[in-house]
C-alpha cells in the first residue's frame, strides 16, 4: 500500500473510532478542517509510526506540523525513503 493510501486508511479508521466525520481527503484540504482533532492527529502519528516505521515530526529538528493534507503526505513520503 502506498504511503498516501496508508495515511488515508488510518485517518478513516481513526475518524470512525472517534465518532468524527472525515472530510474528503484532497491535497489542499486544511488538516484542521479534516474532522480530526489534536487527539486524532496524535493517534494518527502514533499508528503511522507503527505502520511506516517513522515519526518524521519527532525525528526532524525542523518539525513544524504541516497545514494541508498534501503537505502531510509529503512529509511521510520524504521520511519513508
Amino acid at each position: 500500500m502506498s504511503v498516501k493510501l496508508t495515511i488515508m486508511h488510518q485517518m478513516e479508521q481513526i475518524a470512525r473510532e472517534h465518532g468524527k466525520i472525515l472530510a474528503p481527503l484532497c491535497d489542499d484540504l486544511v488538516l484542521l478542517d479534516s474532522g480530526l482533532d489534536s487527539l486524532g492527529f496524535a493517534v494518527l502519528v502514533a499508528r503511522l509510526e507503527d505502520k511506516l516505521g517513522v515519526d518524521p515530526f519527532t525525528a526532524s529538528e525542523d518539525a513544524l506540523f504541516p497545514v494541508t493534507f498534501g503537505d502531510f503526505v509529503k512529509v511521510y513520503e520524504n521520511g519513508a525513503h
Binding site: L32, D37, A42, V45, A46, R47, F57, E61, F65, V67
Partner: protein, 462 residues
C-alpha cells in the same frame, strides 16, 4: 484602574468602572454591568453562605458566576468541562455542596442531587440589591486522581492571585485563552484579566480553531495562553497569521524546545513564556528565555516566597500560592517541611533542569492527566488478558499519548491468528468505558511484563 495593595477580599472589588468585556463564541458581557447587575436572577441572595458547585456549560457564564459569588458563597467548586457524571455524587458529598449553578448549555443540570438549583442567564440583568461580599470564599478545583474520582483541591483567592497581584496595570492588554478557565492554568488568566481590569476572550465549546483565531484577532488580543497542544494546533491553522500577540504563554504541559522555537518563529517580536504550575502547588515559575526546562538557579533560592528543591529526582515546591489542603482525601498535600511533591521528575542538564516525565507513569495528554492504573483496569477486564502495562509514548501533537503492552492468558489467540480481533475488542472496551484521551492509541502484545521487587509492575517515568 485602582489596584489594591492589600490582599483582595473578593473579585467584586475589581469590576468597576473600567470599560471591558468577557467574550465567548456567540456572546459577550460588559464586566462593569456586574456592579449593579446579576446573571443569577433574584436567586443570588439564596446562594449566600452556601457551598456552590459551578456546573455551567459555557466559560462565559462560569466567569460571571465566579465574579458574583466570590465573597458571597462559603465555597465555590468549579466543575471541569470533562467531568464524569459517575463522579458527581462523590463531588457533591465530598465538598458538602448544597447548591448548584447551571446554565442552559449544561448537559447535566438534572444530575445533581442538591437542595438548591439556580439557572444562570447569559445576559446581565439589573439587580435592585446584591449581597455584599463579606467572607473569604474557599475555591475548590478538581484534578484527576488514581482511581478516577477527582481530587478536590482547596485554594483561596489570595493564593490564586499571588503570582500576579500588585502588578502595574496595563490598559492596552487584551487577554485570550485557548485553555479552559475551569482548569488551574486557564483560571490564572481569568483572574489576571479581572484583577488587571482588562478584557478576556474565551474559547467556545467545540469552536473550530480558525474561528477562534479570527475572534482573537478581531478583539485585538495581545496576551494569549494555551497548552503546548493548543499552540501546536493553532500553528496548523492558516488563520494563525491573523493574530499578533506580544505575550505568548504556555502552561499545563511541559513545553519542549520545538514548540518554543515554532512560536518564536511565528511571533518574532513576542515574549514566549512557559509557566510551571500545578493545581496543588500553584504557579511556581515562568521561563522567558526561550529555552525548554528552567535555570538551575531557581532551585533552592526563594523568589516571592516560592521555594523549590529536587528530592529523589522530583520537583518539590513550598509556596504561598499553593493549595491549603485536599477535601475528603487522606493523602497529605505537603510533607513535614511544607513542601508539595509535584511528581514531576527533573534532571540536571548543564546549568538547567529539564523535565523527564512523571513519577508513577502518569501521562499528560494535552494538559489532561491519565493514571495508567485506570486504563489497565479496563484492559484487564477482557477475558483473554492476563496483565497489561499502560505507558506514555512521545507525541509531536499532544506531548504524550497512551499506549498499552498486553500479555494474553494463552498463546491460542496468536496461534489462531485472532490477535487483530482481540485488539479490536480491547479497544472497543476502552472506548466504551474511558474518555477518549485515555484510550490507547496503540496496543502491542508482549510475552511478559517486568515486575519490580515490590511485586508491582515496573514503571519507568517518561
Amino acid at each position: 484602574m485602582k489596584m489594591a495593595r492589600t490582599e483582595p477580599r473578593s473579585l467584586r472589588q475589581y469590576i468597576g468602572p473600567a470599560e471591558r468585556f468577557l467574550f465567548d463564541r456567540d456572546a459577550s458581557a460588559r464586566i462593569p454591568d456586574l456592579v449593579c447587575g446579576t446573571v443569577l436572577g433574584g436567586r443570588i441572595g439564596e446562594l449566600a453562605g452556601r457551598s456552590v458547585l459551578v456546573a455551567t456549560g459555557g466559560q462565559l457564564t462560569t466567569a460571571l458566576v465566579l465574579i458574583e459569588l466570590d465573597g458571597v458563597a462559603r465555597r465555590l467548586t468549579i466543575l471541569p468541562p470533562d467531568a464524569d457524571p459517575d463522579h458527581f455524587a462523590a463531588i457533591v458529598a465530598g465538598a458538602d455542596i448544597d447548591a448548584v449553578v447551571v446554565d442552559r448549555s449544561s448537559a447535566t443540570s438534572a444530575a445533581f442531587d442538591v437542595p438548591l438549583r439556580v439557572i444562570c442567564a447569559r445576559e446581565i440583568a439589573a439587580a435592585a440589591q446584591l449581597p455584599v461580599p463579606s467572607r473569604e470564599t474557599e475555591w475548590v478545583m478538581l484534578t484527576s486522581g488514581t482511581t478516577g474520582v477527582p481530587k478536590m483541591v482547596v485554594h483561596t483567592l489570595v493564593g490564586l492571585t499571588a503570582a500576579f497581584r500588585g502588578r502595574q496595570p496595563d490598559d492596552a492588554v487584551v487577554w485570550g485563552t485557548f485553555y479552559d478557565i475551569r482548569r488551574y492554568g486557564g483560571l490564572q488568566i481569568f483572574l489576571r484579566a479581572v484583577l488587571g481590569g482588562v478584557s478576556l476572550v474565551l474559547a467556545g465549546a467545540g469552536e473550530p480553531m480558525a474561528d477562534h483565531l479570527d475572534r482573537l484577532a478581531r478583539h485585538g488580543v495581545t496576551h494569549l495562553l494555551g497548552t503546548p497542544t493548543h499552540w501546536r494546533r493553532a500553528l496548523m491553522s492558516p488563520a494563525i497569521k491573523n493574530i499578533s500577540p506580544r505575550y505568548v504563554r504556555l502552561s499545563g504541559e511541559i513545553a519542549d524546545q520545538t514548540i518554543l522555537d515554532s512560536l518564536h518563529n511565528a511571533f518574532p517580536s513576542a515574549v514566549v513564556s512557559h509557566a510551571y504550575a500545578s493545581t496543588e502547588a500553584g504557579v511556581a515559575f515562568e521561563v522567558r528565555d526561550g529555552l525548554a526546562g528552567f535555570p538551575a538557579e531557581l532551585v533552592e533560592r526563594s523568589r516571592d516566597g516560592v521555594e523549590m528543591k529536587v528530592l529523589q529526582g522530583s520537583l518539590r515546591i513550598r509556596s504561598p500560592r499553593a493549595a491549603s489542603r485536599y477535601i475528603g482525601n487522606e493523602t497529605a498535600l505537603v510533607d513535614q517541611d511544607g513542601f508539595i511533591d509535584t511528581g514531576d521528575m527533573v534532571e540536571p542538564r548543564g546549568n538547567r533542569y529539564v523535565f523527564a516525565g512523571r513519577r508513577g507513569g502518569i501521562i499528560n495528554i494535552g494538559g489532561l492527566k491519565v493514571h495508567p492504573e485506570e486504563v489497565e483496569a479496563v484492559i484487564n477486564r477482557h477475558p483473554q488478558v492476563r496483565m497489561s502495562l499502560v505507558r506514555s509514548r512521545h507525541s509531536p501533537i499532544t506531548g504524550s499519548i497512551v499506549i498499552a503492552d498486553v500479555v494474553l492468558k494463552s498463546a491460542d489467540a496468536a496461534a489462531h491468528g485472532e490477535l487483530g480481533e482481540v485488539k479490536g475488542d480491547i479497544l472497543k472496551l476502552c472506548r466504551e468505558t474511558l474518555p477518549r484521551h485515555k484510550v490507547p492509541a496503540a496496543i502491542s502484545f508482549v510475552p511478559a511484563l517486568d515486575v519490580a521487587a515490590t511485586g508491582k509492575l515496573a514503571r519507568r517515568y517518561g
